[in-house]
């Protein structure tokens, strides 16, 4: 039996999470929904801590607190400037439809919970299997070993998904100015000057940590992306000549490195993604470093939400008209 206060904690946290999710979905004002969702993401990281999932907690904290919140707020600003700030209420349901959906959902819940009771608690799962082969994986931390070696295929395609996301976003629209008008606050520039090196160091720390403890490329990349976002908020942007081929190369670099490492296997008579045992460790480290750089840029590009135009810096500075209004 878990000790008293811990059990209360485990009863209260899911309740708070459910309440936040419910309030986020049903609140009339959209901004309140986004803020409640950000609070939901913060507390979700606590749930992963209680479920003994350190890597997932790190990823949720880094991506949830850093990237998703900024992504939603940026999108909300653009949507409201285009479609106005109207409150939206749920669809007015005919009673029959409401009853039908309600019972369907409750039946699904009952079914799932019932099936949970029948689930046998089979011993060990895949943990012991991973631990047996951990030595050959080139890293000491099981989750990183699974991510980059045993199930490298998922991670390879996952980076491809991220790349596709950027390509899809770039097809839709050109980059709009990231801010209506730059936030010229001396405190912010001072804060950025202090925070950017710290974020860079912490990203390196998480990346180095990934080989023997919870951490790794994705968490490090979201920290780097958060640093880049901080820079964007104080008006920084990539000069025009860098936002052409060099940016595209950097975005694709991580995926290409992983692909090259994967292809070494078949070239040397092994299966795809089967790294030659001699240089497993350096190969994985190199791939992880390049992945971190590319994913950080990809996450930032998704927040900017538009393709770079050859002539202007990426994202373009605030338009002069907005500056005129600036006090």
């Amino acid at each position: 039996m878990t000790p008293g206060p811990l059990l209360l904690f485990d009863l209260l946290l899911p309740a708070v999470l459910l309440w936040l999710a419910w309030r986020s979905l049903t609140s009339s004002d959209l901004f309140r929904a986004v803020i409640l969702f950000i609070a939901f993401n913060l507390l979700l990281a606590l749930a992963w801590v209680r479920l003994e999932a350190p890597d997932v907690a790190l990823a949720e904290a880094a991506i949830g607190a850093g990237v998703t919140g900024t992504l939603l707020l940026a999108a909300l600003t653009r949507i409201e400037s285009a479609a106005g700030r109207r409150l939206s209420r749920p669809a007015r349901w005919r009673p029959a439809a409401l009853v039908l959906t309600g019972t369907a959902l409750l039946a699904a819940a009952a079914g799932l919970l019932w099936s949970l009771r029948l689930l046998p608690t089979m011993p060990g799962g895949l943990g012991p299997l991973v631990d047996r082969h951990l030595a050959e994986s080139g890293v000491d931390h099981p989750v990183t070993a699974v991510l980059l070696n045993f199930r490298g295929y998922d991670t390879l395609l996952e980076v491809a998904v991220l790349l596709l996301a950027v390509i899809a976003i770039w097809c839709l629209d050109e980059a709009v100015p990231f801010l209506q008008q730059p936030l010229e606050s001396p405190l912010l520039t001072g804060f950025n000057r202090m925070m950017l090196p710290i974020l860079l160091l912490s990203a390196g720390y998480l990346l180095w940590l990934g080989s023997h403890a919870p951490g790794g490329a994705f968490q490090a990349a979201s920290l780097l992306a958060a640093g880049l976002l901080l820079a964007l908020f104080s008006g920084a942007s990539l000069p025009a000549q860098w936002s052409g081929l060099p940016l595209r190369l950097l975005l694709v670099l991580g995926f290409l490195a992983f692909l090259a490492a994967a292809i070494i296997g078949p070239l040397t008579g092994r299966a795809l993604l089967h790294y030659p045992p001699a240089w497993v460790k350096p190969l994985i480290l190199l791939v992880e470093w390049l992945l971190t750089l590319s994913i950080a840029l990809i996450l930032t590009a998704t927040v900017i939400g538009g393709r770079p135009t050859g002539s202007r810096p990426y994202p373009p500075p605030a338009s002069p008209a907005a500056e005129g209004r600036q006090r």
Binding site: L183, S185, F191
Partner: protein
């Protein structure tokens, strides 16, 4: 119970009221600026006391250094955010609360 444990317990117990004060201030104070005031109390002192208590329990200097770093970062971002939110509220024309309005 060696003295380190006792000191840690004292610091932990001392931290609780600051977090409570921060939250009650957040609920009771009349406008944004006072609430910002209450919020930063929880940051600086509440977390600071917890960090001191845990640093006493830490086995190596590295761990207490990590705790200190976390505390400094929270204070740094707390102060910056408090300034920026207050500035936005002020620019949006929100007057600070003044007596029975």
């Amino acid at each position: 119970m060696d003295p380190r444990d006792i000191l840690s317990i004292v610091f932990l117990l001392a931290a609780a009221p600051f977090f409570l004060a921060g939250t009650i201030g957040l609920l009771r104070f009349p406008d944004v600026f006072c609430r910002l005031h209450a919020l930063t109390k929880a940051d600086n002192l509440g977390l600071g006391l917890i960090v001191i208590a845990l640093a006493l329990q830490a086995d190596t200097w590295l761990q207490s250094a990590r705790l200190l770093l976390i505390w400094l970062l929270v204070m740094l971002s707390g102060a910056t955010v408090a300034h920026l939110i207050a500035r936005t509220a002020l620019r949006a024309g929100r007057k600070p609360w003044s007596g029975r309005s």
